[in-house]
């Protein structure tokens, strides 16, 4: 090799040298064409990623932030070459490879000494085009073929040899897969178990003894079906099932971060969700209202409140472009997770590593929400709004002179303060102040301004501490008057919603590496490419529109029968809430890193059933709850445990501990103290102040544990992001920062501590004991029977009866401790 090179040089004549120079020039031109078309978009203009500018020879030789990229004359050891040749990671350009010819050219070009035709006048459009080419990440047919992206197919129910067990189509699917494993379904659970299971599952409180009695007495064949229908009609169904949805949308009544400000109107959204479940609002409409209620259903009050969905995330008190895209990220990620069952968060910085989710999809979805701005929308008529504003202004006018009086009272103390501060100033500041304005140095100017602006700024508590008593008393009186007037101001009811600034959406960009300093192409709204083949058509906003109708377009896709994910994800969630696990056990990740469905055909069948029945959730509840699969006993059997210990094939019903909310609700219901009123303002149960002794801005006005105003369902507990109710927190309440698809079910000692020692539980145990005495009299046997009826929906066994009788009579507080024990035993907190 070396020899041949030498000989080549020797034989070159003058003419050949000229020709070679021409070759070099041509090589330089070809190299710059290749780089311009493929690389300069990110390493030149408009972006200079990694500090590397490939537009000029000079900057190519200088290299990037991490050092040189070409070793002149040695392509083999040049970073640029190794990366385009895919010899080194990360390979370039991202996600694709240059042609072999181009790679060979670049090799020859570096070896030839990097001759170059500087790219000076590349047109803006050209470099943009190069960039936009990079942003493309086409979805292959094979990728589209992933089970979750395919449209559900309605399979016929499998034919089963043993036709006795199946009650519904669901059962045929379940039995077919049990058959394949040689497993048998479990026998039907007792009626006591069934009614308790149905109550805890659908309404989240145990049945009353009367309800149990009535159900046991009803020997008609459809008694259970009637029970399910009755519970679905109960207003408490919405309270129970709204809570699942609130987990998904990371609902909270406060904004998080430094101030964690209370959101006084967030509960309207919570009530909207409860109402929607109770009314069996079609799920597609439910989603559309939350994404684009203003655009799709103008004037509909419910659809307005639904928009609160877009405001539920944490809110940074600092407002910058960065915090804005962080908030949008939260909306995009929550929507994709919760409604579509895919993870898109990683596509903020790069194409998804496992799933066919392009970074561009992420930014097209971001573009959907980009135009939105926060708004507190009055829920009153214009006339009423006008009256409220006028009345408020009138009262504020009355407060003005009072405020002036306060300032006058404070003045002498203020003056004293200021004089003292002036005397304490360091030498250089006093010099600064003494120097005539025009003669001050830059530093002196700053210091002088600072003194002028801050010397009179005195914090209230400091001021009050030094005020004479009589002045203080006078001031107090006026402060009270102002507060009285504040109370007279009419309250304006508003909903937390969003608005946009007109039909035209502001430009949003593809952000390379997720960075605002690396803005790529302007993004148009779009949907998930892997789940929709083609361009989803976004509507043009009407002439008089005040919004871009991007959300309307997206919402229509979400709720369209064309969407393979939305209905599948929801029926899977419903299955999970009923059976403890979904058919897909990763309910918010239907991608490659998630689990595959245990019963894919059943999932598809349920999905088509859902859509064909107007996206009715109650229809799915009925299908599931009336199945033999759901009605099985939850007890183990050896064959099942041996063959399928995780119960993936559903050879028995699941046993599962209820959530913290349901434990608390069950306690209240059992104690007989539960206030069953539905909806409205949140409640503030007691929290030990040492747990939130935080700041003047973050407080919790907890009511006493004895206060019946707090005896409401737990879905109404004010959900403060930084001050969780300990009982909820310890029982795995979601952190409300991001979407929670499935709660952890941990078993930890602090749960036992709360259930043993917490005052709320003790207070309710006393109520329960009193209830037993009230309703069963002083006879211990009757008390025990009643306690089992109320707390566990069944009669005690002989041994339980004997233990209880002995325990209650063994010491004076026996009955209260017995009542307390009922709240604590495993059976009380498990859905049987």
């Amino acid at each position: 090799m070396f020899l041949s090179k030498v000989s080549l040089v020797i034989v070159l004549s003058g003419a050949a040298l000229l020709a070679q120079r021409g070759d070099r020039e041509a090589l330089g031109q070809r190299a710059s064409k290749i780089l311009a078309a493929n690389c300069v978009g990110c390493h030149g203009a408009p972006l200079i990623n990694a500090g590397l500018d490939l537009r000029k020879r000079e900057t190519i030789l200088r290299g990037g932030d991490k050092g040189s990229v070409v070793e002149v004359g040695s392509a083999a050891i040049s970073k640029l070459y190794k990366r385009v040749a895919h010899e080194e990671e990360p390979s370039m350009p991202p996600g694709r490879k240059l042609s072999d010819g181009d790679i060979a050219t670049l090799r020859a070009w570096i070896n030839a000494g990097v001759p170059y035709e500087d790219i000076l006048d590349q047109k803006e459009e050209e470099s943009r085009a190069a960039l936009s080419k990079l942003e493309e990440r086409p979805i292959t047919p094979n990728e589209r073929n992933w089970w979750a992206f395919k449209k559900p197919v309605r399979h016929d129910a499998p034919k089963i040899a043993s036709a006795a067990w199946p009650k519904t189509t669901i059962d045929q699917f379940i039995l077919a897969s049990l058959d394949r494993k040689g497993l048998k379904p479990s026998p039907e659970a007792s009626k006591n178990t069934l009614i308790r299971r149905a109550y805890l599952d659908l309404v989240g409180i145990p049945p009353t003894p009367a309800e149990v009695k009535e159900f046991l007495a009803d020997t008609r064949s459809d008694a259970y079906d009637k029970l399910v229908d009755k519970l679905l009609d109960s207003p408490h169904y919405g309270e129970r099932w709204a809570r699942h949805w609130l987990d998904l949308v990371r609902y909270s009544d406060s904004g998080g971060f430094e101030y964690d400000r209370d959101r006084e109107n967030a509960w309207r959204y919570r009530d909207y969700v409860i109402r929607s479940f109770n009314n069996d609002k079609p799920y597609d409409r439910f989603l559309k209202e939350q994404i684009a209620g203003d655009e799709l259903y103008p004037g509909d009050k419910d659809a307005t409140t639904a928009l609160g969905y877009l405001r539920l995330g944490v809110e940074n008190n600092i407002k910058t472009e960065q915090t804005r895209i962080d908030e949008l990220d939260d909306v995009v990620v929550t929507t994709a997770n919760g409604m579509l069952g895919v993870t898109v968060g990683c596509a903020r910085c790069h194409n998804h590593k496992f799933d066919p989710i392009a970074q561009k999809d992420y930014y097209r979805m971001q573009a959907v929400f980009f135009p939105t701005r926060a708004e507190e929308k009055p829920l009153v008529t214009d006339a009423e709004l006008k009256r409220i504003k006028e009345e408020t202004a009138r009262i504020e006018e009355l407060q003005k002179p009072l405020r002036k009086q306060i300032r006058e009272i404070e003045q002498p103390t203020r003056d004293k303060f200021i004089a003292r501060r002036r005397a304490a100033l360091p030498e250089y500041m006093r010099v600064a102040l003494a120097t005539p304005v025009e003669k001050r140095t830059d530093g002196q100017k700053l210091n002088a301004i600072q003194v002028e602006r801050s010397i009179e700024n005195i914090r209230e508590e400091e001021l009050l501490a030094e005020m004479p008593l009589n002045a203080l008393t006078k001031r107090e009186l006026i402060v009270a008057q102002i507060a009285d007037l504040d109370k007279q101001k009419p309250k304006l009811e508003t909903a937390m919603v969003v608005k946009e600034n007109g039909r035209e959406a502001p430009a949003s960009y593809f952000l390379h590496r997720g960075s605002l300093s690396q803005k790529g192409s302007i993004m148009q709204p779009g949907v998930l490419s892997a789940a929709f083949d083609g361009e989803w058509k976004f509507p043009a906003p009407p002439e008089n529109a005040t919004t871009s109708f991007r959300r309307a377009g997206f919402a229509e896709w979400l709720g369209s029968a064309e969407n393979p994910l939305t209905p599948r994800v929801m029926v899977n969630r419903m299955w999970m809430y009923h059976f403890g696990e979904g058919i897909v056990r990763t309910p918010s990740n239907f991608g490659k890193m998630g689990e595959r469905p245990t019963h894919p055909e059943l999932l598809d069948w349920l999905t088509t059933e859902f859509v064909q029945n107007g996206w009715s959730m109650k229809h799915i509840h009925r299908l599931i709850m009336k199945s033999a699969a759901y009605k099985q006993s939850s007890d183990d059997n050896d064959a099942g445990v041996k063959a399928d210990s995780d119960n993936r094939l559903l050879w028995r019903m699941a046993r599962r501990r209820v959530e913290g909310e349901i434990i608390r609700d069950s306690i209240l219901a059992t104690a007989g103290t539960l206030d069953r009123s539905v909806g409205g303002q949140s409640i503030f149960p007691y929290i030990d102040p040492s747990l939130f002794q935080s700041s003047s801005k973050r407080t919790w006005n907890g009511r006493a544990n004895s206060d019946p105003a707090t005896f409401r369902r737990s879905v109404y507990i004010f959900s403060k992001r930084t001050i969780p109710l300990p009982m909820m927190e310890v029982f795995d309440r979601p952190d409300t920062m991001s979407s929670c698809a499935r709660r952890n079910r941990s078993t930890v000692a602090p749960q036992a501590l709360i259930m043993m020692n917490n005052d709320f539980v003790s207070v309710q145990a006393k109520h329960f004991a009193q209830r037993l005495e009230r309703e069963a009299g002083s006879d211990t046997d009757k008390q025990i029977r009643l306690a089992y009826d109320i707390a566990l929906s069944r009669e005690p066994s002989a041994t339980e009866f004997a233990s209880a009788r002995q325990f209650i009579n063994s010491y004076p507080q026996g009955l209260v401790d017995f009542a307390h024990a009922m709240f604590n035993i495993n059976e009380f907190v498990y859905i049987p």
């Binding site: 971060f257 944490v314 962080d326 990620v333 993870t343 968060g345 100033l425 360091p426 250089y428 500041m429 140095t441 830059d442 530093g443 002196q444 700053l446 210091n447 301004i449 600072q450 003194v451 801050s454 700024n457 990740n589 890193m593 007890d635 995780d646 046993r655 501990r657 030990d688 747990l691 002794q693 935080s694 700041s695 003047s696 801005k697 992001r721 930084t722 969780p724 310890v730 952190d735 920062m737 991001s738 952890n744 079910r745 941990s746 078993t747 930890v748 000692a749 602090p750 036992a752 501590l753 043993m756 020692n757 339980e800 233990s803 209880a804 010491y811 401790d817 307390h820 604590n824 035993i825």
Partner: protein, 464 residues
């Protein structure tokens, strides 16, 4: 360490991983062990526990461990060619430190008169003078210092460490947090939260007076005998219920959690019972003086907890807002004199006590705020937040005492020599605890998450 999935059947214990009783252990054979059971890191490490002293509000580095004589020379002037943007209000000129510095120990470490007692431990301190952080605002900066991210919803360092190492004492929480009597830090519980990890790994708040844990103690009229009787009765009822499904580990775990809670009632009280300490020890921690007694108690309890196998203790000095924390916007002199005096003796006492008990090697002590303070004046006599440059120090746990790493510029404004990110600090702490920070991961939302996200380099200079 690869990600650990927790199956439904796996037991999650917050305060205890051990399943007591041989019978139960046998019954649970085949089930995975508790996530809090002690486990090894990626490599052997000296440090077993962490005590973090968090000077919440932001401590001034120019007035404590990073002397800047230039400030006195240029008092009242501006920094040439630099426009300093404060977080609030109008910027002033350069403000000299209000305290004198001296050199201490064989290493000749500079410490100001604010920390005369800590100064006597100079040769144990590894000081990083070139820290910088992203946010200029308390909550995000606190979150970043604790979780690596300025957003909420990420696991705190204590969570990561207990996730990785479990804990040595199953009757105590693995990760304990003490807050200031004047209030908790801004941002609240997410500062020691488990983020996207199971609650088993979250920090547990201990109160320094009364019962350490809320609901730790039964109501007054509930005697231990009565409670024992009650538990036995419940045990009978649970056993009958459990008989139907004896292999259900979740039910078994719940039964055991009550026994553990019962034991914790005494174990936790005992762990914080500093009356068992000698008068000399109490004095060492500054308990004999009102001003330092609060942090002193916490520091002493921290030692007792670490001694009993607790993995991480975090002490917040300063709470609430304004002067209740280290946030010296108004009056630096009053503010830092107060907070330094509150903490100086307790911190020095802790270091000396750990050392004399041979525990300093296995205990990593970290002293830090969420950011530093600016070299210019604010509101005449205060200093504003400075995320561009600040100091943290570490002691024990395999660090190299008497070291100084990095530097801020001559005014103390920006880290200029060997600037270190919070990710670097976290990488170093994990390294000292026996982890390669790039391999301690947890799968969340389709991503392998790390405390250090995608960055972080170990600060090798301070590793012994």
């Amino acid at each position: 360490m690869s990600q650990r999935f927790f199956s439904r059947r796996e037991l999650l214990w917050k305060a205890g991983g051990g399943i007591g009783g041989l019978a139960l252990a046998n019954m649970l054979q085949g089930a995975s062990t508790s996530p809090l059971a002690p486990k090894a890191g990626h490599f052997a490490a000296k440090a077993k526990s962490i005590i973090s002293i968090f000077c919440y509000g932001g401590v001034s580095h120019m007035d404590t461990f990073d002397p800047k004589p230039m400030l006195a020379k240029r008092a009242g002037e501006t920094i040439p060619g630099k426009k300093v943007v404060p977080s609030q209000g109008t910027p002033g000129g350069l403000m000299p430190s209000l305290w004198d510095f001296k050199k201490y120990g064989q290493s000749g470490l500079d410490v100001s008169d604010l920390f005369p007692h800590v100064a006597t431990c100079a040769d144990d301190l590894a000081v990083v003078r070139s820290m910088h952080t992203i946010s200029n605002d308390h909550a995000p900066a606190l979150y970043q210092m604790n979780t690596g991210s300025i957003q909420t919803g990420f696991p705190s360092m204590g969570t990561w460490v207990t996730y990785g190492l479990g804990t040595e004492n199953q009757s105590l929480p693995a990760f304990v947090v003490f807050t200031d009597p004047r209030g908790g830090p801004i941002g609240g519980a997410p500062n020691w939260g488990n983020g996207f990890m199971p609650t088993a790994f979250q920090g547990t708040q201990f109160r320094p007076t009364g019962d350490p844990i809320v609901d730790l103690k039964p109501p007054q009229d509930m005697t231990p005998e009565r409670q024992r009787k009650w538990l036995d009765f419940m045990g009978k009822l649970n056993a009958e219920h459990h008989q139907k499904n004896p292999q259900d580990t979740e039910l078994a775990a719940r039964i055991e959690s009550y026994e553990l809670a019962f034991r914790m009632q005494t174990a936790a009280v005992d762990a914080v019972d500093i009356d068992k300490e000698s008068e000399a020890t109490k004095k060492l921690y500054g308990l004999d003086q009102e001003i330092s007694s609060y942090v002193g108690r916490q520091a002493l309890m921290a030692r007792r907890l670490v001694e009993r196998g607790v993995r991480m203790v975090q002490i917040y000095s300063g709470g609430g807002n304004f002067n209740d924390s280290w946030d010296a916007h108004w009056d630096l002199k009053e503010n830092h004199t107060q907070h330094c005096t509150e903490t100086d003796k307790p911190i020095a006492g802790l270091l000396k006590d750990l050392k004399s008990r041979g525990m300093l090697d296995s205990t990593l002590v970290i002293w830090h705020g969420e950011f530093g303070r600016l070299p210019i004046s604010q509101r005449m006599s205060g200093r504003d937040h400075n995320p561009y440059g600040f100091t943290v120090w570490m002691a024990g746990g395999g660090t190299k005492g008497g070291t100084i790493v990095g530097a801020t510029d001559e005014f103390g404004l920006e880290a200029v020599d060997k600037p270190k990110k919070i990710n670097d600090l976290h990488a170093t702490i994990l390294h000292l605890m026996g982890f390669d920070h790039t391999r301690l991961t947890y799968m969340h939302n389709g991503r392998f998450m790390r405390l250090t996200d995608v960055e972080g380099e170990v600060i090798k200079e301070i590793v012994a």
